[in-house]
C-alpha cells in the first residue's frame, strides 16, 4: 500500500488521505485513502449506507471532513469552498438527477458554459448574447445524443435522458475530475449501455470517479474499484483483485458476480 502513495504517481489527480467524517457519535466515513488517476474510471462500490455518497460530498466539499486531507491536482483543497473546487476542475453529479427542470436542454448546457465564457454577470445584456455559446452547446448535446430533445424542457425528459443531460452539462466545464453519483441507477438496459459508452469516452482525457450499484457495468468499464463497508475501505484494486477478495465476496458481492 505505502509503495503506491499519491506523490509517487504522477497520474493521480485527486487524492484523499485519512478522510474521516463524524456525524455526532456516528462515524460515516473512517480513514479513507483514495487515489483517482487521470484517464481512468474509478468505481466506488459498497452496500447501502457504506458511506459512498458521504465520500462524494467530502471530496466535492459539500461536506467538511472531520479529519484528513484532500488534494486536487497537487493543491490542498481540504478547506476550499465547493464552488471554488468546481472552478478548479472537480465537477460532480448528484444521486437524484441534477438538471434545471424548467429550462430547455439547450439552456441547461448553456448555464454550464456561461461562467467559463464570462457571460454570467451581464445583467444589462439581452439573452441573445448567449447565442454565441450555441455552437459549443450543440456539440455537447450531440456528443451525448440529445439532439432531438434540444428544445424540450428538462422536466419532460425520461429519467435516463436527464442523466445524460447532466453528463453533458458536467462535460461543458471540461472538468479534470468528474464525479458521478449512481449515473445508472433506475435505468433501463438500453440507457445503461449508452451511459456506459459515454463514460468510457469521457474518461479518455479525464479522471472519472463513480458510485455505482450495477456491478456488471462496474466490472465492464472500471479500471479501478474501491469497496467501502461501514465507512471503511474493504478492498481496492482492479476487478480481479477485488472480486477475488474473500471478505468482499462475503460482505457484498455474493458469489454470482465473482
Amino acid at each position: 500500500m505505502a509503495g503506491q502513495h499519491a506523490q509517487t504517481d504522477s497520474r493521480v489527480v485527486l487524492s484523499a488521505r485519512g478522510l474521516t467524517r463524524d456525524f455526532g457519535g456516528f462515524t460515516a466515513v473512517n480513514k479513507v485513502d483514495l487515489d483517482v488517476r487521470h484517464a481512468e474510471v474509478h468505481a466506488l462500490i459498497g452496500p447501502n449506507g457504506a458511506g459512498k455518497t458521504t465520500v462524494f460530498n467530502l471530496l466535492t466539499k459539500f461536506l467538511q471532513p472531520t479529519r484528513g486531507t484532500i488534494h486536487l491536482l497537487g493543491q490542498d483543497i481540504t478547506k476550499t469552498a465547493p464552488d471554488k473546487v468546481a472552478r478548479m476542475g472537480l465537477v460532480r453529479s448528484f444521486q437524484i438527477s441534477a438538471v434545471f427542470p424548467h429550462m430547455s436542454v439547450l439552456d441547461n448546457v448553456r448555464i454550464a458554459l456561461q461562467r467559463p465564457n464570462n457571460l454570467a454577470v451581464q445583467f444589462w445584456r439581452p439573452l441573445s448574447a448567449l447565442d454565441r455559446l450555441n455552437e459549443r452547446a450543440d456539440a455537447l448535446i450531440a456528443a451525448v445524443g440529445l439532439e432531438k430533445e434540444r428544445d424540450a424542457f428538462a422536466v419532460d425528459l425520461s429519467y435516463g435522458r436527464k442523466r445524460v443531460l447532466e453528463i453533458a452539462t458536467t462535460l461543458a466545464l471540461d472538468p479534470k475530475v468528474m464525479l458521478l453519483d449512481e449515473p445508472m441507477a433506475g435505468m433501463g438496459q438500453e440507457d445503461v449501455a449508452a451511459i456506459a459508452k459515454i463514460i468510457r469516452n469521457v474518461a479518455k482525457d479525464r479522471a472519472v470517479l463513480m458510485v455505482e450499484h450495477n456491478l456488471s457495468v462496474v466490472a465492464e468499464i472500471s479500471d479501478h474499484i474501491t469497496v467501502l463497508q461501514r465507512g471503511e475501505i474493504l478492498a481496492t484494486g482492479n476487478y480481479e483483485t477485488v472480486s477475488s477478495n474473500p471478505e468482499v465476496r462475503s460482505a457484498y458481492m455474493g458469489t454470482e458476480h465473482a
Binding site: F62, D83, V91, F100, Q114, P116
Partner: protein, 334 residues
Amino acid sequence: MSDMTRNDMTSTNSAGAGGGLVNAQAIFLLIGLALLLAAPFFVYPIFLMKLLCFALFACAFNLLLGYTGLLSFGHAAFFGGAAYITAHTVKEWGVTPEIGVLLGVLAAAFLGLVMGFVAIRRQGIYFAMITLALAQMFFFFCLQAEFTKGEDGIQSVPRGHLFGVVDLNNPIAMYFFVLAVFLIGMAIIWRFVNSPFGMILKSIRENEPRAVSLGYAVDRYKLGAFVMSAALTGLAGGVKALVFQFATLTDVSWQMSGEVILMTLLGGIGTLVGPIFGAGLVVTLQNYLATSSFPVTIITGVVFMVCVLVFRRGIIGEFYASRLGRKLGFVHRR
C-alpha cells in the same frame, strides 16, 4: 421554425408557443400604455401616481421573491429609506428632483448591500427574519435620527423643477414624470430578468446545489439581485416622497414590508406584470375604503384570504395558467 427558436430565446415564458405569445404580449402592452397615457385626464392624478409607485415597489420586490426565490421581510427599509433621503436632499440641500431620487436610489442600494450581505447567508424563514430584524433596526434609527424629524416625518417637500426646467407642481407634469420613472424601472426589471445574469438566477432558483457544483458562487448572485431589488425599491420610494411631498415612519414600518408581500402574492409571483395588478388592487381598496367606517385592513385581509384560497398563483398567474391565457401563448412558469 427559426421564428420559434427566436421567441424561445427572447421571452421569459420560453415554452415555444410561437407567434401567439409575442402578439398577445405586444397587444396587452400597447393597451396598457394607452391606458396609462390617457388615465390622468380621467382619474385623480395623485391616486394614479400612488398606484404607479406601489406597482414599481411590488415589481422590484418580486424581482427577489419571484425571480430569485428570496422572501425579504424588510423591503420597507429601502422604500422608506429612499423616501427620507430624497425628501431631505430636495428640501434641505435644494437639489433638483431627479438628483434627489437618484440619491435615494443610491442610499437604498447601499442599504441593500449591507442588509443583503448579512441576510444572504441564511435561507428560507431565517433569511426573512434577518431582513425583518435589520429593517426594524433601521426603523428605530429613523425614529431617533435628527434629519428624519421623528414622529412628524419630513413635511412639505417641494417637488421643484425637473432638470431645473419642468415645473412638477403641475399634477399632469408630475404624473408623466412618475410614469416615465415607472416605465424605466419596469424596463430595467425586464432586462435584468431576461439577461445572462437572469439565467443564472433562474438556475439557482431551479436547483441551487447544481448551480454550486457548476462553479457558481450563488451567494454573490443572490446579493446582486438583492441590491438591484433594493435600488429599484428605492426608486419607487424616492418618487413617492415627491408625489406626497412628505416622508414619514409609515414608509419604513414593518406593515409596509408586509403590504408589498401581499401585493406581490395577490398579483402573482414570478410574473412580470402580476405585482402591478396586485398593487393596483390593494391601493384601490385602501383608497375607496379609506372613508368608510369599516376598517380597511379587514377588507384587504378577506380579499387576500380569498385570493390565496381561490387563485393560488395570484390573479395574473392564474390568468396565464388558464385556458384563455395558454391560448394567447402565456405560460406560467410553475
